[in-house]
């Protein structure tokens, strides 16, 4: 058992390497820079490649090129860079190119408060790129969870041939805490499926019987195929046909929406007998957890629901909680972004309230306790 004191951003790189990352392309930006720095140091040692590109757009573009050439690829950024990467996130979606995009969030909009935390990119992660699409976004809450969630981000990217967004908080990205990584960690590593047929039979975007996604040949292995951001049929070549477009877009959304059970993960704390719920994620879930303890001591039956997969939403469980609980407080470091989603899913019978903040300061357990008590007594 290796016990280490590790920073969140460091755990992200350690997880990525464990998952098989062999290509990193990015651009420096606070508070994500350690991810680039540590990748630059680690990748050549394992025969992988690191490149510092000329800008954020080049960062994701080169990472996608690396992925198409067969290497597991990652890029990391923060809010302003995440905005710049959006077009190529859409490209990754339509071309089904696996990639992990880490966004260590900071306060915005624009340059905002570069070294202060925020959870303001919840909706940008969901809808940042144009057009209809589904997306996978994961949101770990501790250094240890960053390690395992980064591995999971790679696995999901490869399994579903889709970009996976890893949302981190500045707080945990820069926080150091204890992490135990077993020597012979038997964590599952998923490698992309390469073609089971020869080049003559291969159709780059045909989903084989019983499979979720098309098989993916790396460039340069004898399978000469075409990759385009245009709507394409199963051969990969562009098509302007409405039926082809509808079929493709439905397939791209369905491969995620039909596998929610596999993709969605969440955590609950003191929820069994709870009458009141808190929904919270990332670093703020830790304040919320402490608030649950305080409120429980005062006899108030509160539980915490913490989505780790934030997109697609843990819809089934949130709906159940909406049936069971009298009130749900969505506590997030923004003006109420995930609140909208919780309200949509759980708000039919249950009262959904938001507690948000967006001034660069964190939300403390005391604030949450005070807010909930005041609201309950009102």
């Amino acid at each position: 058992m290796a016990i280490k004191l590790m920073q969140g951003n460091e755990a992200c790189v350690a997880g990525a390497l464990k998952a098989g990352m062999r290509f990193y392309a990015g651009y420096p930006i606070t508070p994500s820079t350690e991810i680039a720095e540590l990748s630059a140091e680690a990748l050549p040692k394992v025969g992988g490649k690191f490149i510092q590109m000329e800008d954020e757009i080049g960062g994701i573009a080169a990472a996608l090129g690396g992925s198409l050439a067969g290497l597991k690829s990652m890029t990391a950024t923060s809010g302003p860079g995440f905005s710049l990467k959006q077009e190529n996130i859409g490209y990754a979606i339509i071309t089904e190119t696996p990639i992990v995009i880490v966004n260590v969030q900071r306060s915005g909009p624009s340059t905002g408060l570069p070294t202060s935390p925020a959870q303001g990119d919840i909706m940008q992660a969901r809808w940042g790129t144009h057009g209809d699409h589904s997306i996978i976004a994961l949101y770990p809450s501790s250094v240890r969870e960053i390690y395992y969630t980064t591995i999971r981000a790679f696995n999901l990217a490869e399994k579903y041939r889709t970009p996976v967004i890893l949302l981190l908080d500045e707080i945990i990205g820069h926080m150091r805490e204890k992490i135990e990584i077993p020597e012979n960690d038997t964590v599952e590593i998923y490698d992309r499926k390469t073609p089971s047929v020869g080049p003559e039979e291969y159709k780059a975007y045909k989903v084989p019987q019983g499979a979720i996604v098309p098989e993916m040949a790396p460039f340069g292995t004898g399978y000469r195929f075409h990759v385009t951001g245009l709507v394409h049929d199963e051969t990969g070549f562009p098509s302007g046909n409405e039926q082809v477009a509808e079929k493709l877009l439905n397939r791209l959304m369905d491969k995620i929406e039909d596998n929610i059970e596999d993709i969605v993960t969440y955590d609950e704390y003191m929820m069994e007998d709870a009458e009141i719920g808190i929904v919270s994620f990332g670093a703020i879930a830790r304040s919320s957890m402490a608030a649950v303890d305080t409120l429980r001591e005062q006899g108030i039956k509160v539980g915490l629901f913490r989505p780790v997969t934030i997109w697609p939403s843990p819809e089934k469980r949130l709906a159940e909680l909406g049936e069971k609980l009298s009130s749900i407080y969505v506590v997030e470091l923004n003006a109420g972004q995930y609140f909208l989603e919780v309200d949509r899913i759980a708000g039919k019978k249950c009262r959904i309230e938001k507690y948000g903040k967006f001034n660069g300061d964190i939300i403390t357990p005391e604030e949450i306790v005070a807010f909930i008590k005041e609201d309950q007594n009102a």
Binding site: G47, G58, S67, A69, F219, H226
Partner: protein, 273 residues
Amino acid sequence: MPSELVKEYFRTQNLAHIWCPGCGNGIVTRAIVKAIDALGLNKDDVCIVSGIGCSSRAPGYLDFNTLHTTHGRALAFATGVKLANPKLNVIVITGDGDSSAIGGNHLIHACRRNIDITTIVFNNNTYGMTGGQFSPTTPTGDKGTTAPYGSIDPNFDLCNLAQAAGASYVARGTVYAANALEKNIKEAIQNKGFSFVEAMSTCPTYYGRKNKKGTAVDMVEYLRDHAIMKAAWDKLPDEKKEGKFVVGKLHHIERPEYTEQYDKLIERVRKVD
């Protein structure tokens, strides 16, 4: 009947192409394919990457590993492909707007790194796909749909730009002198480093019509009559260069190539460990 060259290197099922009658892009595409054929490259080892625009549609017609990316980003994607698999011959097909406006940053940095990618710019002096807006290579004073009174923007000399940014091979050719263009593309692919070839193409539909340049043939003849070979160009006094442009191999030096440098870095780091 398609020629042997077309049957061997084109995805004939995807033809006919989308280019307008009289467009020069087919001539440049053929020159690229002939250069690849002459060099005897294995099709499986060639990766052609493009951005967005008329010229960037070419890879869809070509039977290699082909990647049609986002506007301006072909070189950034190509950099990733090449670094991840240096054994691939990576060729970027791009346009004047794609490479020097929206993708200008990637162009200068690919030149600076001297990464072993061959970039062919199909320069038709306009944004053809969107209907004829002026581009960074539209000559000052010429018209585009967004320059109805004539462009006041100074235009780029793309070859000077590439050379100044560090490209180790730079050449310019025209769709009139297709064989010379093919020869330059061949040299560009052979160069171990970043190679830049500006192929002066023609857009009779938009740029030509807007600027009263005559027929497609007139535009090709214009290229013939205004192109001067490098050797002759160097002897010309400045006043005689007015209105003309230089063609041929313009620059060729040896510089450390990026992916080789990275492989050396891996070796060095692993030895220390």
